[in-house]
């Protein structure tokens, strides 16, 4: 299988090409821009057939155009970041409500002000209630694999929901790394053409999509989405397993576990920072710490069952959030804690707010966090529940 040294953004663009996407509607924003530039280059060089690129005038219109295209039966893609994603927010609900399997890459970037173009998960996590599935990539390979799997999962007859593949600003988007890309024929076998749930070209039995739902009916349609999200968990595992069998990289776990088998302390987090955490785990292990890492790949649907299985057997979980919900706590921490409340798995959990706006989380930082967690476990009591770890004091 051919390997290439590409940036995270180019990995996304190649996946779009290999998925035989039919419509891309997108608006430029740093650090997403090189995704759409690369796609435009594919078109300019005649490397893709039947791909319509709509250079819309805003992200809101990008998502609206994707919605129109997807409702017409096309395999549809877009990409954005931070402010752009926030502008799309209304239409994210629309895409899910109309049950359209649009795939989007969000390049995680901090929300302004102050202006920032650097990595931060608050932009995508702010969209958690829109009915989109969310996958957080650790590296460029996962960006590529994620986009390909996303189409298959989104378009699955039991799902029909949009999927957001999330990658870190610059740390992945602009970092060149080795990415293994299967041959086109292999991908075509894995990802056949889309079979839409409905299409607007049905002139024989025309219908309207999204007509006024009164209190007598709206409720049931919401339940359908909730149910599809639950179904999506099974589909994610199936597709992840199939991907592994075909291409050698298994994604059947919604939470990737790293050296957690006998771990007392587990670092839990999402996205690119988990690469550094794994590196730190190896070093800490060599120093005698019983630590492991749990990378939450899918934030929506939330892997409740897998989290419970993990939490049963560990003493402490350090949740690393590169995001924050003002007035509350880190968003992953908030959700993970909530999942465990009604279970018998109650490890000590502490929230470390790290790396907001692109500040590096280094191996030394992870080591310091391990030390802190160890003390907490020995004392059997939290020093504080939420720690702004990187704060200058």
């Amino acid at each position: 299988m051919p390997k290439k040294v590409v940036s995270g953004n180019y990995a996304a663009a190649y996946a779009v090409k290999h998925a035989r996407v039919e419509v891309v509607a997108a608006y430029p924003i740093t650090p997403q821009t090189s995704i759409i530039e690369k796609i435009a280059e594919f078109i300019a060089n005649g490397e893709v057939e039947n791909l319509q690129y709509v250079p819309v005038e805003s992200e809101h219109s990008a998502m609206a155009a994707c919605i129109g295209a997807s409702a017409t039966g096309a395999r549809t893609f877009t990409a954005t970041s931070a402010q752009g994603l926030a502008l799309m927010h209304e239409m994210l609900h629309w895409a899910a409500g109309a049950r359209l399997p649009i795939v989007m890459v969000d390049v995680n970037r901090a929300m302004a002000p102050p202006w920032s173009v650097w990595d931060d998960q608050t932009d995508s996590l702010s969209q958690r209630d829109t009915g989109w599935l969310q996958f957080y990539a650790e590296n460029n390979q996962e960006v590529y694999d994620g986009v390909l799997m996303a189409f298959k999962i989104a378009e699955h007859e039991k799902v029909n929901l949009p999927v957001m593949i999330v990658e870190s600003a610059f740390i992945l988007s602009h970092t060149y790394d080795v990415v293994d890309m299967p041959e086109q024929e292999e991908i075509d076998e894995f990802l056949p053409p889309r079979k839409p749930l409905y299409t607007l070209t049905d002139f024989e039995n025309p219908f309207s999509v999204g007509a006024l739902g009164t209190p007598a009916d709206y409720y049931e349609f919401r339940y359908k989405i909730a149910k599809a999200m639950e179904e999506a968990k099974k589909v994610i595992k199936e597709v992840g397993k199939e991907y592994g069998e075909r291409f050698g990289r298994d994604y059947s776990q919604m939470i990737e576990l790293y050296r957690t088998d006998d771990a007392e302390i587990v670092f839990m987090g999402m996205g690119s920072l988990m690469g550094t955490v794994k590196e730190a785990v190896d070093i800490l292990r060599s120093e005698g710490y019983k630590v492991g890492a749990a990378k939450v790949r899918w934030f929506r649907p939330f892997p409740r069952e897998e989290l419970y299985e993990l939490a049963k057997n560990v003493e402490g979980i350090a949740v690393l959030d590169r995001n924050f919900s003002f007035g509350q706590e880190g968003i992953l921490f908030n959700e993970a804690k909530g999942v465990l409340y009604n279970t018998d798995a109650r490890p000590i959990m502490k929230n470390y707010i790290v790396g907001l706006g692109g500040r590096d989380l280094t191996v030394n930082d992870v080591k310091a966090i391990a030390k802190n967690m160890k003390e907490i476990i020995e004392k059997g009591k939290l020093d504080r529940e939420i720690e702004w770890y990187h704060l200058k004091r």
């Binding site: 040294v5 870190s168 970092t175 060149y176 690119s272 590196e279 692109g358 191996v363």
Partner: protein, 185 residues
């Protein structure tokens, strides 16, 4: 794992140099990572770029704070930037300069174990007609460090720039490879 930090100015191609070096190492079967300092620098401003090379997949996702090798594309940076910041003991510095070893060492805050000098600007001007030193300096990197073969550098350059441009840049790298002087300190 070998960690390399490039110092240049916006427009000189430091980021491209980091990418080409990664590509060259990749061609030799290595795992690589290349990225710019995630800033918003404009043309002319000092910029930094990084390359990591390893035998196994690279997981770490931070900037490079303690490089094994520092590569300086613009001699004027020695006056304004502490290019040896965090340089590992036993580390190496490769500089594009017309100046002598002694003059250069005077400007470095930390004495490296190895110093390589090459007048990449002159080479670039002669061969490319432009003072863009990113490809020629890679010849010096191949010579001084041995982490990649000059042939791999040439190949990676030709993959990055097509046609005549690729040929010329590869030639510049080869020329620099020949002319680089390495000092064990």
């Amino acid at each position: 794992m070998i960690e390399i930090r490039f110092h240049g100015r916006g427009g000189q191609g430091a980021v491209t140099a980091a990418n080409i070096l990664a590509e060259a190492a990749f061609l030799e079967g290595k795992y690589v990572q290349a990225f710019p300092f995630f800033g918003v620098e404009r043309r002319g401003a000092p910029v930094t770029a990084f390359t990591r090379i390893d035998e196994k997949p690279i997981r770490i996702k931070t900037q490079i704070y303690e490089p094994d090798i520092v590569v300086v594309l613009d001699p004027s940076l020695l006056d304004t930037v502490d290019v040896t910041a965090g340089l590992k003991d036993g580390g190496m510095v490769i500089i594009n300069t017309e100046k002598s070893k002694e003059e250069v060492l005077e400007k470095l805050k930390k004495k490296p174990a190895k110093l390589a000098l090459v007048d990449a600007t002159t080479i670039a001007l002669e061969i490319l007609g432009l003072p863009i030193t990113n490809t020629s300096i890679l010849g010096a990197v191949a010579k001084a460090t041995g982490i990649v073969k000059i042939e791999s550098v040439e190949k990676a350059i030709k993959e990055t720039f097509s046609g005549e441009l690729g040929e010329k840049n590869a030639k510049a790298a080869r020329e620099a490879f020949e002319k680089t002087v390495v000092y064990e300190l």
